[in-house]
């Protein structure tokens, strides 16, 4: 019986010839990522060793990555102290994949991992962040875990008692219409299968649209797979993956492009044609409350946010810049842009995109999670409306339970920043 990609990855990581959905395994972990919540992981890790008479020891410091992104620079003494404690732990345990608050090497964990070459096809990646699903874009099996589970991984080097997830195959065909892209596709899928349509399952992406999609676009669809409840999203590694890893991430070692078997068993197969896909909007307060843009066009917007681990890459910023160039952000609308990493920020600066955005009235912020999860900056006022390229619109998400968040693509966000209302980018701002 054939195996899906994730079954193959888990078979290898647990030293078995073949596995199937439902089997319980303990796969070795190739990369274990945390952000500021490493402060809690450290606490739980030390708790495991308490009264054991053993010296706390991270199983393999070269496989642990810690990236500060959720509150950078720190917004409070409490966060600054958490970051300080993590820094001390990193030094003591010689963790090398550490990205502090820096303009060159800093950024959002889900951008830093791919661009730094930390993720390889076929790898098992765990992260104390639900959007760890992103790294399936490079053909890895990547999933989110809690802090205590991470402490267990730091101790043992494997994930305990993992049940092999079933896989949903999504086959995407057709060419995107102008101003429609990966974000619209994944919002459409989430709207179609619901916020729990893929709970406990993996989404494996196939089809000619995916083959032609850049790694940046694949990161978008894998990132948001978790919003359908998926354990992970995954794209079979191909020439695009190799090009990205060699040219962008500087990876030199041999790559194993794990592919699913032709007779792999899928729980469900979904076919989608994007040729006539409209720009999609996820309306408050659930990500699966997805409508075609036309249904909410004209809705007044107080704050436009472009960035996050979903849509803060160079192509997103280029799109936004092209739509506001020579124009002005509407009165009484704030446009906040936060590139996903220092590298992206620098390139956007060199390409002139940052200047285009600032001259139009956008505020360009430092790389990080920014307003997405309402903990740091860009909070909404009472009853205010945000239109955002981020990934969640739950009640309270952008820092205010009376605020409303609509999710969309960078093109829709930028066009709407100019008009101050939700606007179809194909009609012009």
């Amino acid at each position: 019986m054939g195996m899906t990609i994730v079954e193959k990855i888990l078979a290898r990581a647990s030293g078995q010839a073949a596995v199937k959905a439902g089997d319980v395994l303990e796969p070795k972990v190739d990369l274990a990522m945390s952000h500021e919540n490493a402060a809690l992981v450290v606490n739980q890790f030390l708790e495991i060793y308490k009264d054991t008479g053993r010296e706390p020891r991270v199983w393999d410091p070269s496989r642990v990555a810690i990236i500060f992104d959720h509150r950078v620079p720190a917004e409070s003494p409490k966060t600054a102290t958490n970051q300080k404690k993590v820094r001390e732990f990193v030094a003591r345990h010689m963790i090398s994949k550490f990205h502090d608050i820096r303009g060159d090497l800093g950024g959002i964990c889900h951008q830093i991992l791919p661009e730094s070459g930390y993720v390889r096809p076929g790898a098992v990646v765990v992260g104390t962040d639900s959007h760890t699903t992103s790294h399936g874009a490079l053909g890895a099996f990547a999933f989110g875990i809690g802090a205590t589970e991470m402490a267990s991984v730091w101790t043992l080097g494997f994930a305990v008692n993992i049940e092999v997830p079933a896989t949903i195959k999504v086959v995407v065909s057709g060419t995107f219409p102008a101003m429609v892209g990966p974000k619209d596709l994944i919002l459409h899928i989430i709207g179609k299968i619901s916020s729990q349509g893929a709970n406990y399952r993996v989404i494996e992406f196939h089809g000619d649209t995916i083959k032609r999609m850049s790694t940046s676009g694949r990161l978008v669809i894998c990132n948001m797979s978790v919003e359908a409840g998926a354990t992970s999203g995954i794209v079979p590694a191909d020439e695009e993956t190799v090009t990205y890893l060699r040219e962008e991430a500087g990876v030199k070692d041999a790559l194993d492009l794990v592919q699913p078997d032709g007779d792999a068993v899928y729980q469900q197969v979904i076919a989608i044609d994007v040729s006539a896909l409209e720009p999609q909007i996820a309306c408050p307060h659930t990500v699966d409350n997805v409508k075609p843009l036309a249904a909410v066009a004209g809705t007044r917007v107080n704050q436009v946010v472009i960035g996050s681990c979903t849509n803060g890459r160079l192509d997103d910023i280029a799109m936004a810049a092209s739509l506001v160039r020579g124009k002005k952000v509407a009165q009484n609308t704030r446009m906040l842009v936060f590139p996903a990493s220092g590298r992206i920020y620098q390139r956007a600066l060199d390409a002139g995109y940052i200047g285009d955005l600032m001259r139009a009235g956008a505020v360009v912020m430092n790389p990080g999670c920014g307003p997405c999860l309402g903990v740091h900056e860009g909070a909404l006022g009472d009853g205010e409306v945000a239109l955002s390229t981020t990934n969640r619109n739950f009640k309270g998400r952008m820092g205010n339970p009376t605020g409303e968040v609509y999710l969309c693509s960078p093109a829709v966000a930028a066009a709407s920043a100019v008009t101050g209302v939700i606007t179809d980018p194909r009609r012009g701002a």
Partner: protein, 165 residues
Amino acid sequence: MAHVVYLVGDDISTDVIYPGRYMATVLPTETPQFAFVDDAAFNGKLKNKQVPPGSIIVAGQNFGCGSSREQAVSTLKGHELVIIARSVARIFMQNAVNLGLRLVVAPGITAAVGDELTIEDDRVVNTTSGAVFPIERLPRARQAIVDAGGLIAYTRKRLMGTPAA
């Protein structure tokens, strides 16, 4: 036997259970003060110890969706609340098992605030309404962790079973 103290609907995210703006608070001893903090009435009852340990929250589908933040579990565990949900998002379920939060999946559960529920091996009985709701078994992969008393104890046991480095 315990009473239902709070009802919530579908897709209750970890942002609602434990808003992101309190995420700099990480220790399980400190997180309970922020449980459902945006609902001032319920949060006030919890903080004023007006909710007895073992009290039940009844939830709809996809409870605990969204962020993997473990504070959303430790904040409920700190009040010794019991969750009965129609379905639960994966990461929240694992965090609940790992930290020992009592969480029951009963796909048909309906109840009103004040109802008295009894959780049995394979069903929940609403003794107020007389209705009975079957329970979905925990994924078997997680049972060993529950049996060990949580993931810290389980991992410690596994660690001590390996030769010291």
